[in-house]
Subunit: 459 residues, 2 copies
Amino acid sequence: MSGMTVRFAQIVGADHLQTGAAIAEDYWHDEELTQPPQAPAYLAKPATAEEVAGLLTAASQHKVAVTARGSGCGLSGAARPVAGGLLISFERMNSVLEIDTVNQVAVVQPGVTLTELAAATEEFGLRYMVYPGELSASVGGNVGTNAGGMRAVKYGVARHNVLGLQAVLPTGEIIRTGGKIAKVSTAYDLTQLIVGSEGTLALATEVVVKLHPRVEHSATVLAPFADFDQVMAAVPAILADGLAPYILEYIDNVTMAGLVHTQHLELGIPDQIRDSCTAYLVVGLEGRTSGRLDEDVERTGGLLAELGAVDAYVLDGGAARKLVQAREKAFWTAKAIGADDIIDTVVPRSAMPNFLTAARDFATAAGGAAAGCGHAGDGNVHLAVFLKDPVKRKRLMDEIFSLAMELGGAISGEHGLGRAKTPYYLKLEDPAKLALMRRIKQSFDPAGILNPGVVFAAD
Amino acid sequence: MSGMTVRFAQIVGADHLQTGAAIAEDYWHDEELTQPPQAPAYLAKPATAEEVAGLLTAASQHKVAVTARGSGCGLSGAARPVAGGLLISFERMNSVLEIDTVNQVAVVQPGVTLTELAAATEEFGLRYMVYPGELSASVGGNVGTNAGGMRAVKYGVARHNVLGLQAVLPTGEIIRTGGKIAKVSTAYDLTQLIVGSEGTLALATEVVVKLHPRVEHSATVLAPFADFDQVMAAVPAILADGLAPYILEYIDNVTMAGLVHTQHLELGIPDQIRDSCTAYLVVGLEGRTSGRLDEDVERTGGLLAELGAVDAYVLDGGAARKLVQAREKAFWTAKAIGADDIIDTVVPRSAMPNFLTAARDFATAAGGAAAGCGHAGDGNVHLAVFLKDPVKRKRLMDEIFSLAMELGGAISGEHGLGRAKTPYYLKLEDPAKLALMRRIKQSFDPAGILNPGVVFAAD
């Protein structure tokens, strides 16, 4: 055994450290599509913050690269290990420590999955509202990527739902930030700096998340439109009306056909309407009473008609659930039908029509294709890119990201940069901001051990 | 003229630079109660981000301390200048640059006041929901302190309503962070790091703020309680019910008496009820239709009765407005009746009863008194402290802040640390966090020019 192996094993116990060939292949990657799997040299499964601190202290001393892993369902490669590095899996730190109904928060360890958290909160009539679609996702992963999802249009993304952290600095100190408090104006907001930093600044070992009261009644309205611009014009109109939908998604006709086909959806839309429309808007509504919900559904239907929808279908419970689940599985559908890469660019929602038209034109011009769906209320565009040639594909991605940034957007709205999108980011971002962020990184991680190759180039 | 005067005058124009005795006394302070006014050596009124960059570059080169000032209505002394330093007033950068109805954002310069922004958004049926009470406050000041206010219980604080910034680094670079986008998972969230940093990291020269649709119908319910613990128990019950009040305030009987007296309120509460109750809960409700509002008001009344309220009064429009305005002026009332300092500590709302009881006991034991009101939904306790002896008062404040932090809270929920609360903070905060924040500060401001004495000790 090498000296590092002995040291790490002393910290987490020999049973919870694996090395080399003993590390199962599942740990070599997350769900990002383009990068080859990479085995880490060490896999540690700590049980406490103190063990994490021990691992990071040892790694800092010996300049061992460290990658954190929640459930491994990330889509940008932030959890793909580094050759020769240490992978810290939070699978043993998976306790719901507290459901606090007075403060309406949960305190959980990072390895808790969304399914587990939903089960723990249900009896209290409370819910954690970050819903990236993949329910095996961990809360720690949500923190790392600043996860979003369909409900963000009403409830915000992870950033808005994470109130506090216990986190371990790469230098081994264990700090607490924020807490069971919704607001604080006391020095710098370290919580918000760590959320979304993709394991490059500090590792969360405890997370305080906001819970919302469960709303009893919900409905889903599906509206086909002949023209994509009309879909986009409908979005601000619905939001301005104060209807406060908790889902506001568009799905283009190519993607809808894929979802219907792979997920066997029965949406009850006549063929002639389906064939004549280019995109769909999905509006999820919820109400404290069934009367209010019915009223809002009716109002939404009327609004959609005014806004040019070909029709508006109120889906019954089963069909609605299936459509939303199918939408959540859009990534798997894209993967199944051979997508070569995926994009989750965010732009101001006013820029979505221009952005989407241009992105599709770029893809066609490059000899490929791009189709997708997205969080229309948030300007968060999910595109599956079909283009086999990696050189051409990189050029296409460059074009698309560059346009998004010119339009006032950013490369990722919710997946994070990871190892896959970092190279594009480094090319396109303002050098003054990059230099500042490098100094911030340095202030947390002087040895540069945390997730090299993510946000910054690996040395 | 000194060399620095010439240099600053070249940047902003001689008409927009004042020095020494020419600087009006209003610029020597903000509204913080305890610190003596301090004249700056220079007062510059830049008109553009480039001028701000020029000022900061020159100040960095010559190690001149720089303090930013919005409207000067801060309550912690973050805008009080440093002797020999430069005060940058944003009063000339006061344009509303854009009201964007599709993205529901406004883009404004930092000197725009809340009154001006409200006037600019009104015709579009949109509102900026940060409402710290003082409508002469500037958006730039909101950014600096992460301002809160009564509506935060529903709409969040400045942090949740600032989507992007143009900001000038002390090293002179002008950067843009975030944008007209509600979510982003692309490297570190510099917006959220700068919001609440009280002018110690970078100066905002443009702010993108979220706007919400105006809600037509609103009502205010006032409920007296015999027992303070009942008030606190009512808060989570109301929130869990999903009523989503936009105001949820408690006012203790001492403070209510002060408000009624100084603001000549007519609330229609019989003397015997007033005399028998120790605190009031104010519940502000809004609804998309008058029918829904009436329903919610009724439900709230019922809930309050179940929760032990002595009664529940639906205030008529005039009385409600007066009460809310009086509550907004609580600081001025406290000042008028001779408060020696004020506190805006935040604790988990479950800890409010213990915290308040202990804080009042500490004050009594020290020979003084503490009374107040606060944002019950947020755990944000506003106390006026009456104790003349500055040494005893400091000891009392130490005790109170120390308890708040032990209870999982923080020194300030919305005012910021400023020059007044920084010494307490430095004594009570975890040294590992302080060291990390000092390194972050250094990564923005290597020359240490921005607001020395705020968040960190002045050299």
